[in-house]
Amino acid sequence: MIVIIIKIKLTKFITKNLYLNINLQIMSFIETKTKVGELMNLETDILVIGGGSAGTMAAIVAKEQNPDSDVVIIEKGEINRSGSIAMGMDALNIVVQPGITTPELYMNSARIATEGILDYKPSFVMAERSYSMLKRLEGWGIRFPRDDENKYISLQVHAKGSFLIEMDSPELKLVLAEKVKEAGVRVINRTIVTKLLVDRGQVNGAMGFNLRTGEFVVCKAKATILANGGCARFSLPNSGYLYGTFDYPGNAGDGYSLAYQAGAQLTGFEYTNCSPLIKDINCPLLYITLTRGAEVVNALGETIDLEYVSTQNMLKELREGRGPIFIKMNHLPEERIQEIERILFTVERPIQKKFWENRGIDFREGLIELGETEYQLCGGHGLTGIVVNEKTETTLKGLYAAGDVACVPLQHLTGAFVFGEVAAEEAVKFASNNDLGEVDQNLIKNEEQRLLNVMDNNKSGSISVQDFEYKVRRTISDYAIPPKNEIKLKRFLWWLPRFRDDMKDIQVTDHHELSRYEEIQFILDSAELSVHASLAREESRWGWFHHRTDYPEKDDANWLKHVVLEKGLKSGEVQTLLVDIENGGEH
């Protein structure tokens, strides 16, 4: 298959009306195909689901490893600006620099941060490969500023060691997209994956639909890499605005749900976590400000003791009535303030500039109020995801997972890149030894029919997808986040079948809304997994994030274990297993 890219160069001499006509024609073409029913049938060696940090890296490296292999990315957004780093990032959070720090030191830090819920090998591999990843990115033109001694600027956000390396890269995602294009990867944008193709425990590709045209997309693949993020749309943000989340709200737990339904094992779903970020807008700024001398003060004017950047300490202030808490910078020198402003206002969430202007707040005087974000499930900021080993292999043959969707605790952007690389290496190897697997045509027909049925039956539903999602996520807030206990968690399980049944009343009038409908299913699946994991872990762990009022203490003797979840082959229900931690939590 040949991909034809038509690029019309814009010049100021072409009249505006001409553009207008061309574009209106394109748009109306897009909008008139309003039925699932068109079919795009693809075959590939390596299918990457999700074109964010991990997915683009995986696709690029797969082509590096074997230029002859065909690689497809299916992306829900558009590859130039998709995933969690649409507007770039200010740092690589975990880089072990030879001669300065060691992977072993990182493991010490990580074990403290995760309270021991950490397998040795994947995290070690990440640390070990982190510096070469920095070099790879630098080779692609990503800037890592250096100090007067020509050393990378590192900052300490971990208990032990300065692993965070500053990065200046508003255009990071554009660079990755360009590399994808150069490598000859096929990109299918605006396409949501709704089901994996599975045959006897082996994943053979995926299905979904274009959320503008409704075209039904089937992609058979020798190897499949899941790289479509965590679940950012979990509990309700304080603002009540569904999309006002910390992480990219396109991440609705798609990958968790797909993997679970396909039969893969998942873990760490009891660790529902949140952060103290800019109240109302939920944009990040903690590391950037605190590593540069900012302080956190509470409502009583006390400076909160932060041995290292511990979000748990800050959240405790809020919970115990000493909120609001604020970031204070008025003691910082002007050049430091300007440095902070430059980073905050150019990278990651530059909208902050507008936010502070609107609020009339200048960091030189005003305080920055922190609020608790919504709770999320995430392999990058948290401990949640698909079970993977150091090769990114999931428990299903042919399925790899990298980035926030995979459980390599607190892997941040470094993990997304490193494991994107690893996944590519492994998937290329696997694909070279495998043919395209068998695919039961009924699976495909059934999925297409299911989607067609929703479009048919939900046309005149009485509840908007947004109203529905509001209630789902408010109920998650009520029962599935800390403080947890058995009765609350079971209350959520009482709601689950009702929500699934009530989905018949959701109004779906186009394929964009159909994609939001599908995302609600992902959110419900993620919540179901989380609640089962939280019920299984009869202790409290990771501070507030899995705090059970009926088991308020941490119990290392019995619970230094993973709670692993999978779909029961016969029951179709969530099964929970307790699995020992690799190397017994030590190394």
Binding site: L10, K16, Y19, L20, N23, L24, I26, M27, E31, G77, E78, N80, R81, S82, A86, M87, R190, L211, R212, S239, G240, Y241, L242, Y243, G244, T245, Y248, P249, G250, D280, I281, N282, R349, P350, I351, K354, F355, N358, Q466, H512, S515, R516
Partner: protein, 64 residues
């Protein structure tokens, strides 16, 4: 929470529609972008990537 479009600068090129991370922008009958769906994450891509600097996004009322 509207998009503020400078209609003199906008060439209706559709880059904002193409790039929107939440798929919420469309062009109206006059060829100008608007938010068809209320799901803005205020990522800023539409504003940043507009080749004519014709577009400004406002924050959603609930978060601003």
């Amino acid at each position: 929470m509207p998009l503020i479009v400078d209609e003199d600068l906008c060439t209706s090129c559709g880059v904002c529609v193409d790039r929107c991370t939440m798929d919420i922008i469309r062009l109206n009958d006059d060829g100008f972008p608007y938010k068809k769906y209320d799901e803005c994450w205020y990522c800023g891509v539409c504003e940043e990537d507009c080749p004519e600097n014709a577009l400004i996004i406002d924050l959603p009322f609930q978060v601003k």
